[in-house]
């Protein structure tokens, strides 16, 4: 946690300085843009942190370990893949949830599968996708991505 802060703070300071020497105006525009983006996600982000704080209190680690842990096997993988495909959680907000799951005993396979389906498969947005690509292509893309998300999860779990 502290390491994180040190890395991100020093990288941002160095980049800002380099950028500032190269172009003052551009740097100010960039800083403004970044802070605006932060402002936009700050409230939803805080809401998710509240939710995660509650969940971590209510759901005992034992349950997470049982259903999403290393020994959960195919069931854990299926839960992760299906929930990830249906849920419409913005990427930014999903990382605190993922980190909480790992700390509470979920396996890397489960979390990687969940994150990947969340990003690559969208059941809720499928009607919109069909409008762009047509029914067959949209369904094919989602099905393929569903499969490779599971493959990614298994491989990540195998390596880590």
């Amino acid at each position: 946690m502290i390491n994180n802060a040190i890395i991100f703070i020093s990288v941002s300071i160095i980049l800002t300085l380099v950028s500032f020497f190269m172009d003052k105006k551009k740097t100010l525009a960039g800083l403004k843009k970044g802070l605006m983006m932060f402002k936009n996600i700050a409230i939803p982000f805080l809401n998710i942190l509240i939710l995660v704080s509650l969940l971590i209190y209510i759901v005992p680690p034992k349950i997470i370990q049982e259903y999403l842990g290393a020994k959960s096997g195919a069931l854990g993988l299926a839960i992760a893949a299906v929930v990830g495909s249906i849920a419409l959680i913005p990427g930014f907000i999903s990382y605190p949830i993922a980190s909480m799951l790992i700390k509470q005993g979920a396996s890397y396979t489960v979390v990687a599968t969940f994150m990947t389906t969340l990003m690559m498969v969208g059941i809720v947005t499928l009607p919109l996708e069909i409008k762009y690509f047509g029914k067959k292509v949209a369904i094919l893309r989602n099905a393929l991505n569903f499969i490779i998300a599971i493959v990614i999860g298994l491989l990540v779990g195998l390596i880590l």
């Binding site: 209190y57 605190p96 047509g134 990614i152 390596i159």
Partner: protein, 179 residues
């Protein structure tokens, strides 16, 4: 009245939580105290790196404008074309459905089917803002492994889609023109 409600709607949870925490400390409600301690830890974790991540993203945005790369899309083929669409995807932000209109533009500009699907793949798992936040929360090891495992797989999906769709009149519709 309605307007005021709408304006403050995003803050409702925060306000409820603040009241709940305050009350818990006043009456000594232990679960409430524990939850607020959890929140405090999460909040410190967040506030010590996310704002700086956004400073980095903002600077990236002004120094590497997407429009510059977009200009070259479609003209380049082969490995160069693949690298170009992946780079373009990495500079984006937002949810996957935001990538569909861009896929339409790429298609119109003459990008291959393969590259369009590689773009969508890279968009969903290689966006720089996402990688930054992922490193912060799940560690660089997890991020590196997940990225390196995903990359060949979604390039594979691109090749498969091109192979599967090349004789099938593949097109992308612009839904603005066609309600």
């Amino acid at each position: 009245m309605k307007k005021i409600l709408k304006k403050y709607q995003p803050y409702i949870w925060l306000a409820c939580f603040a009241i709940f925490t305050l009350a818990s400390f006043l009456i000594g409600f232990q679960p409430g105290k524990d939850i607020s301690i959890n929140f405090e830890q999460f909040f410190i974790e967040m506030i010590t790196f996310i704002p700086f991540l956004f400073i980095i993203i903002g600077l990236f945005d002004v120094w590497f404008p997407k429009a510059k790369i977009e200009k070259h899309i479609g003209q380049e083929s082969g490995v160069k074309g693949i690298i170009l669409v992946i780079l373009l995807a990495m500079l984006q932000a937002g949810p996957l459905y935001g990538a569909f209109p861009v896929a339409y533009i790429l298609h119109k500009k003459g990008a291959s089917i393969k590259n369009i699907f590689i773009y969508l793949g890279a968009f969903s798992c290689l966006k720089i803002p996402m990688l930054g936040i992922e490193m912060g929360y799940l560690g660089w090891k997890f991020t590196l492994v997940r990225t390196l495992v995903s990359l060949p797989l979604f390039i594979g999906v691109g090749y498969f889609m091109e192979h599967h769709l090349k004789d099938k009149n593949f097109t992308i519709h612009d839904i603005k023109n066609k309600p």
